[in-house]
Symmetry: C2
Subunit: 224 residues, 2 copies
DNA sequence: CGCTAGCTTGATGGTACTCAACCGCAGTGG
DNA sequence: CCACTGCGGTTGAGTACCATCAAGCTAGCG
């Protein structure tokens, strides 16, 4: 079996370090290590270079909401003011680059178009979060799972028959999509029975029928 | 009966026009009139001066997701790139001020702290959307309704016994919270039966027992 | 070979959706 | 003045989906 293709949008990698003219601030995080906690001073952003980050909140009743998974090329840290608003840790060995806010603001003064790009990235993140709201609000369990897998397939450079990495465990998926682990498992089993996907290992999947997957994810499109 | 208190965070009103040194771009929109549509060129932001805006998407299956209600002081237009990503209309007679992006970018070059403030507002909107995700994902119908009413009460300058405006219809609330109109109606009826709130008219409500309302909205707090 | 963690599968029940009828108010016209 | 109509909202009965509780399975590892 081939190794599962990893998630990467490599065009974005090193995006900011170039603009800032610095090569500092790299950091390696091992699996399950915490990058920051809710309440920590948010003095900058993190650019994911490799691996996967998991942003989440834990509630008083013990339940957990996973707000985002961040893959290489993603920036973590928008949507936080002075302090981080949720916890963030790694679900695999991960490399990140720290981008201090003050150096970024300084750079923006010299390169105003950088500020525009930053605002665009914040907008994109907002758009993504709104899509998530819609997903959680309007979709059935099957549609949520399908959308989730489709999202990963789209971010990875998917090609027919190639195994894709599924770096998070079932519980993580459940806590991200607002489902229980049992429902996640059952739904994936059904999709496998219908030959839409294949699960060669627990932490990877193959899309056999992309059209069917898209169809199962449905309801993405507005009427316009 | 007193007229219902209107939603207003007046400290923010005229925020940007001051910084931009312009008084232009005001526009009045009547009830149900469209401000912009998905796909329209997003050449700027709108600041709500009075009334209420409704941002929404309509899907191929005919269902609708209301993404946001915007009250006086709110800025509409973050999270859109070149083009608006959802439709927006008024659910009451509404006044808005248009803030062109290019004049804003020009102003930022002279006042960099303005850019920071803009980024903060985008962050706040992102945080609000994330909260909405959590609401939709983790809460029961009763908790959603309670959170929604609590949110309005907090934004309005609530005082005990005062009637608050509920400018949107039941279907709007349902489409915002990911519920059906029947569930919204039933849930409100139950809250009224328990004397937590009162519904003097269709489009207003009174919070009788703020502690109970907060309790019903619960699960807001993280463990930290 | 036995242990464990993560996952799967099964049985049951509750919450919210669906379909349907009804209510109350406002506007309209005879 | 009153019947008619339309719309937004409420209430009721039945159902589907997903959560819960519980047990069994599988891969990996000492």
């Amino acid at each position: 079996m081939q190794p599962a293709a990893s998630l990467s949008t490599s065009s974005e990698v090193h995006l900011w370090s170039e603009a800032l003219g610095t090569s500092s601030g790299c950091r390696s995080i091992s699996n399950a290590e915490v990058l920051f906690r809710e309440g920590d001073e948010a003095s900058g952003f993190y650019e994911v270079l490799s691996g996967t980050l998991r942003g989440y909140k834990i509630f008083a009743d013990g339940s957990r909401q996973i707000i985002s998974f961040s893959y290489p090329g993603d920036i973590v840290g928008f949507g936080h003011g002075e302090a981080f608003r949720f916890d963030c840790d790694a679900i695999a060995d991960t490399k990140v680059r720290f981008i201090p806010k003050n150096s970024l603001l300084k750079a923006i003064k010299e390169q105003p178009e950088l500020g525009e790009r930053l605002l665009t990235m914040a907008s994109d993140e907002l758009a993504h979060t709104q899509d998530l709201s819609i997903l959680l609000c309007r979709k059935s369990a099957a549609e949520r799972i399908a959308s989730f897998l489709l999202n990963i397939a789209t971010r990875s450079n998917w090609r027919p028959g190639v195994a894709l990495a599924l770096p998070m465990c079932r519980q993580d998926i459940a806590d991200h999509l607002g489902l229980t682990i049992e429902t996640v498992s059952r739904t994936i089993t059904k999709m496998r029975a219908r030959r839409v996907i294949d699960i060669p290992t627990r932490s990877s999947f193959v899309v056999n029928d992309m059209a069917a997957l898209r169809h199962a994810a449905q309801a993405e499109d507005t009427v316009h």
